[in-house]
């Protein structure tokens, strides 16, 4: 990703350069309004950048057509405000698999295995509308990883959840990333969550990457003073 800018009414994101490595778990932290969600949306190609270039495996991303769809299908984004379809839990998880034309048998195997992983086998035929917040979020993540994307984008996946569900979801994310070598880019408002699960931490403030580095370094001896203040919870904004 090179010199990518996003301008709405004003510039909300300017990234000089960001290089992401396959199979790594990234924790994106920063105050609200920093541009974290915008970054995920641009990577997922839901919004076009205003200028600059995004490269996937060294190739410039196609802006439209089948090329774009193919690329998008290598990724999944779980939104800050997740929306489950008004359908059964099972069909929600199967959605991305059906969109990709997986055969019935394969869909069944994967969905059932995921239901087992998120501990919701009994709730397979429940309507998604009737789930609790934690259950809904587990389904949203299962739905996003069902088709084993190369890149998993998570926008505050555990906001407003209880500790039990947070732990479960964090375990799921780590397991997915390790087993399937999925690159995870997780935005979180919770610096401790980043500390727990990220390999690399990216600190964004006012639309710019202030600092990026190995989690340990960011938390023990960051180069930047504002990074230090932020991870220590002392930043005033």
């Amino acid at each position: 990703m090179k010199a990518v800018r996003k301008i709405y009414d004003e510039e909300v994101l300017y990234i000089n350069e960001l290089i992401l490595t396959k199979g790594c778990i990234y924790g994106v932290i920063g105050p609200s309004g920093a541009g974290k969600s915008t970054l995920l949306r641009i990577i997922n190609m839901l919004t076009d950048q205003s200028s600059g270039e995004i490269l996937y495996n060294g190739e410039p991303a196609p802006k439209n057509g089948l090329g774009k769809l193919t690329l998008q299908r290598n990724m999944a984004l779980v939104f800050q405000k997740t929306l489950l379809f008004k359908d059964t839990v099972w069909n929600n998880i199967a959605y991305g698999l059906k969109a990709r034309g997986f055969n019935k048998k394969e869909i069944e195997i994967r969905v059932n295995s995921l239901l087992d992983q998120i501990g919701m086998t009994e709730l397979a035929s429940r309507r998604a509308e009737t789930l609790s917040g934690g259950e809904a979020q587990r389904v949203a993540i299962a739905r996003a990883v069902a088709f084993e994307p190369e890149i998993l984008l998570l926008d505050e996946p555990t906001a407003n959840l209880d500790p039990g569900n947070i732990e479960l979801i964090e375990e799921m994310i780590i397991k997915m990333a390790r087993d399937k070598a999925i690159t995870v880019i997780m935005v979180t408002h919770n610096v401790f969550q980043a500390k727990r699960i990220a390999d690399q931490v990216i600190f964004i403030n006012q639309g710019k990457i202030v600092e990026m580095g190995p989690t340990e370094k960011i938390f023990s001896k960051p180069d930047n003073e504002s990074t230090r203040l932020f991870v220590e919870g002392k930043m005033v904004y």
Binding site: N44, L46, L69, A76, F85, K86, Y95, G96
Partner: protein, 232 residues
């Protein structure tokens, strides 16, 4: 008072005995309005979905046109379709005036803006979010649009039912383009007008009761749907 009472009794007798005249009228009414609403759905849902997914700013002009057409007086719609279908009109050669087809066209013209407008409003509420969720999971444009429609099914059904209840009860348009010809283009509303004028209150009241029942059923369904939609 006794005239109303006797009329009511006779009307009930006509309904219970499936009086052939009454039945012909009711069935034609339903055939015309159901066909019209099906066509209006085919036209209105895709357009409404498309507009609903666009930003409100960009569809401002369309919005105004659609909302104007939604409130179009049926007689005006009838007049417009009459002029189009009449012998000198652009579609005069088809010879459709004073046929059930003309009535269907007039009702499609009345119902489509309602279906478009209400679908648009319903989709605008959450359509963008649904579309993005679908896309983030790998849906192409067609699947994403279909998902939006499926997820907005309560709003869309509501739009269709509202359109139906409007056309089945309207009298001005079908009167003008259909001509209220007995056994051919006479529907419930136009029959009520005629029979009342003639003093045949039994048939008029009987049709009125049936129209009310249809309205009751339709609105009960609508109410249930909207309750279901809110719950989710």
């Amino acid at each position: 008072m006794s005239r109303l009472y006797e009329g009511l009794l006779e009307a009930l007798r006509l309904i219970i005995s499936f009086d052939p005249d009454l039945l012909t009228i009711v069935l034609l009414s339903l055939r015309v309005s159901i066909t019209a609403i099906l066509l209006a759905t085919l036209i209105g849902v895709p357009i409404g979905t498309l507009l609903g997914l666009k930003e409100e700013k960009k569809t401002g002009f369309f919005n105004k046109i659609i909302f104007t057409f939604m409130g179009m007086p049926p007689v005006v719609a009838g007049l417009i379709i009459f002029l189009i279908l009449s012998r000198q009109g652009p579609l005069g050669v088809l010879g459709l005036l004073y046929t059930p087809s003309a009535m269907i066209i007039a009702q499609v013209f009345l119902a489509s803006p309602i279906v478009i407008g209400l679908t648009m409003v319903g989709i605008r509420a959450k359509g963008g979010e649904i579309e993005e969720t679908a896309r983030s999971l790998g849906a192409g444009s067609a699947l994403a649009a279909w998902t939006v429609v499926k997820e907005s099914r309560y709003a869309i059904l509501g739009a269709v039912i509202t359109g139906f209840s409007r056309v089945v009860a309207e009298v001005g348009a079908v009167m003008i383009v259909g001509g209220n010809i007995e056994g051919h283009t006479r529907v419930m509303t136009t029959a009520i007008v005629l029979e009342t004028r003639k003093g045949n209150f039994e048939l008029a009241i009987g049709l009125g009761i049936i129209l009310l029942m249809i309205s009751f059923i339709v609105n009960s369904v609508l109410y249930t749907i909207q309750k279901g939609g809110k719950k989710n």
